[in-house]
């Protein structure tokens, strides 16, 4: 059996939950059609569980306890340990969200299970399913086999398995409400309500064109060059995380898993290596141009056009070229 743990907040399902259903169904097909079940955790999750019941799965478990709201790692692991013990799945699959990163490694340590994180695809090795993940900043891919007794825990990267490929059932799957076994006193984290920092009005997701700078820009003094190029292209200026961490550009201009997700008509990446955390935020762009001195930078994996070269030569040349017209 394959157990999917869906993610919801205030009753709203995370879209990644459907992506994980796709992953679970594909994995099931590789291991003789093992049944897939979905667990939704929270204080009152019947509506969200009902939504998941639209998927072609054997059963949806609405795992409820007042202490599961708001989310805490202690609460989730406290509820999941007995659930996993009673359901005895071969695989547990979760989306690689910030929430999963917070509780899944704890669950794995608690039940002494293998945990393969941030998976982007399925493979096969030694006659059983292997899981593909990117390593060394996306420069290499690795097929990984779990070791030891089941279950094997797996988290899937956002966008790696398409949500709309999840098979729907002819009739809704049965929903079973499970009262979670959980001692509220065991929850040590006391979370406050989520909030957003006051932001300036930069909505990169609406930009038609984006010029993004990465580590390759080297110095803050070089930013005006990128700004000039952006202006000529009618583009917004954006950056990868290290540039915003250094304070060279404000965080609202950051593209990637911890910043904004964008899909403009043109994404021109200057000195951006294209690490996974950045690539997930921009790889859906229509046309991607990469200019980088390192011919093996992962950014070229997702680029439509690539120039291997010194951006301090190529960008001024581009500016000159655009000024011609």
């Amino acid at each position: 059996m394959i157990l999917v743990i869906a993610e919801q907040r205030d009753g709203q399902l995370n879209k990644a939950s459907w992506e994980v259903v796709t992953a679970a169904q594909r994995l099931s097909a590789r291991i003789g059609g093992a049944p897939v079940k979905v667990a939704v955790l929270g204080a009152a999750v019947t509506a969200a569980a009902g939504e998941m019941a639209g998927a072609a799965v054997a059963e949806v478990l609405a795992v409820e306890h007042p202490a599961l709201e708001p989310y805490t790692a202690d609460g989730f692991v406290g509820a999941l340990e007995p659930l996993v013990a009673s359901q005895a799945p071969d695989y547990v699959i979760v989306a690689h969200t910030y929430q999963a990163r917070d509780f899944v490694p704890k669950l794995a340590a608690r039940i002494d299970a293998a945990l393969i994180t941030d998976v982007v695809g399925l493979a096969e090795a030694e006659g059983r399913p292997a899981f593909t993940r990117l390593v060394f900043q996306g420069k290499l891919a690795a097929d990984v086999l779990p070791e030891g007794k089941p279950p094997c825990l797996v988290t899937c990267q956002a966008g790696a398995f398409p949500a709309d490929a999840a098979a729907r059932g002819a009739a809704p799957a049965p929903v079973t409400t499970v009262a979670a076994t959980l001692d509220p006193a065991s929850i040590r984290q006391k979370p406050e309500a989520p909030f957003r920092e006051a932001r300036q009005a930069v909505d990169l997701s609406q930009a038609a064109r984006i010029v993004a700078v990465g580590r390759g820009i080297r110095e803050q003094d070089k930013l005006p060059m990128a700004e000039e190029l952006a202006k000529l292209l009618g583009a917004e200026l954006a950056a990868s995380r290290p540039i915003c961490d250094a304070g060279w550009l404000p965080p609202e201009r950051q593209v990637g898993s911890s910043g904004q997700t964008v899909a403009p008509k043109l994404y021109l990446a200057l000195g951006v290596s294209g690490a996974i955390q950045h690539a997930v935020g921009m790889k859906a762009s229509k046309t991607i141009v990469a200019i980088n001195k390192d011919a093996e930078a992962p950014i070229f994996e997702v680029a439509d056009y690539g120039i291997v070269g010194d951006l301090f030569e190529v960008v001024p040349a581009l500016i000159k070229e655009l000024q011609k017209s």
Binding site: A73, P105, A109, K139, L140, A141, L145, T287, A303
Partner: protein, 253 residues
């Protein structure tokens, strides 16, 4: 406050990894190494907390003999002493094995706070901090952007997705995984480098290290797109790119 900072030595960002003959790991004998960047932010946060609240910062690292390079660097930046869990097998170990090795070596120290980066730049499993918390019986919080110690308890700012944040309170001792960019890093001074030479590095032998996963095939990722590479001089490449963006991709006017 007794603060532990767990840090990992990883291949340098500008090293292009080559796969070994068995295709199970990289040829790390050819690599240059550096401190895992998120761990450097965890170290800086530890040093700042010590400056504010007193106590000591103990660097903990699990890996082969070569990791003493980043351990010395951390001592030069201001950490007081170090624990090095030494084993060649830890170089390619998974989060479960590394957390186990660190927990065994750190268990007797009674740390008030354990900090580490949110993930490593090599395997990027993002597991060690959280698994370590479970092993040490401590509460934890992940992807932290601010740390406050108030009346012997923690209040930390957790980064959520899409620009959202959340404050979380919890008792000490605790484990935090630190997000890059939480602070501005300091560099080692000459005085720090000299002082580091006299600081203690306690070597601990690693018990049998059992990874719960194994890389069976390591390879260059498949390209998802057909990339048109544009060559020539900078001026030629620029002219060709602008032409293609106008006529072929229709991405600019």
């Amino acid at each position: 406050m007794k603060i532990a900072v767990c840090l990992k030595q990883v291949p340098s960002r500008d090293w292009q990894p080559r796969v070994n003959e068995a295709r199970t790991w990289v040829r790390d004998a050819e690599a240059t190494f550096e401190m895992n960047e998120p761990d450097a932010y965890a170290l800086e946060e530890g040093l700042r907390l010590k400056e504010r609240h007193g106590g000591e910062v103990v660097v903990c690292s699990a890996g082969p003999a070569r990791v003493s390079q980043v351990v010395r660097e951390a001592l030069a930046r201001g950490a007081d002493r170090a624990i090095h869990v030494e084993s060649d097998a830890l170089a390619a170990a998974d989060g479960a094995a590394v957390a186990g090795a660190l927990a065994d070596a750190m268990g007797g120290e009674a740390f008030d706070l354990v900090l580490t980066g949110l993930q490593s730049d090599d395997q990027g499993l993002a597991q060690v901090g959280v698994a370590l918390a479970e092993r040490l019986g401590m509460p934890h919080a992940t992807i932290i952007m601010e740390v406050k110690v108030e009346d012997g308890a923690l209040r930390v700012k957790r980064e959520l997705e899409g620009g959202w944040f959340q404050w979380v309170a919890m008792p000490l001792p605790a484990v935090l995984t630190i997000q890059s960019g939480i602070n501005q890093l300091r560099y080692a001074t000459l005085k720090g480098i000299m002082a580091a030479k006299k600081k203690e590095i306690r070597k601990v032998e690693a018990a049998a290290c059992a990874s719960r996963q194994r890389i069976v095939n390591l390879y260059a990722p498949q390209k998802t797109k057909q990339t048109t590479m544009i060559g020539g001089s900078a001026a030629e490449a620029a002219a060709e790119l602008v032409k293609r963006l106008r006529d072929e991709a229709r991405a600019i006017d």
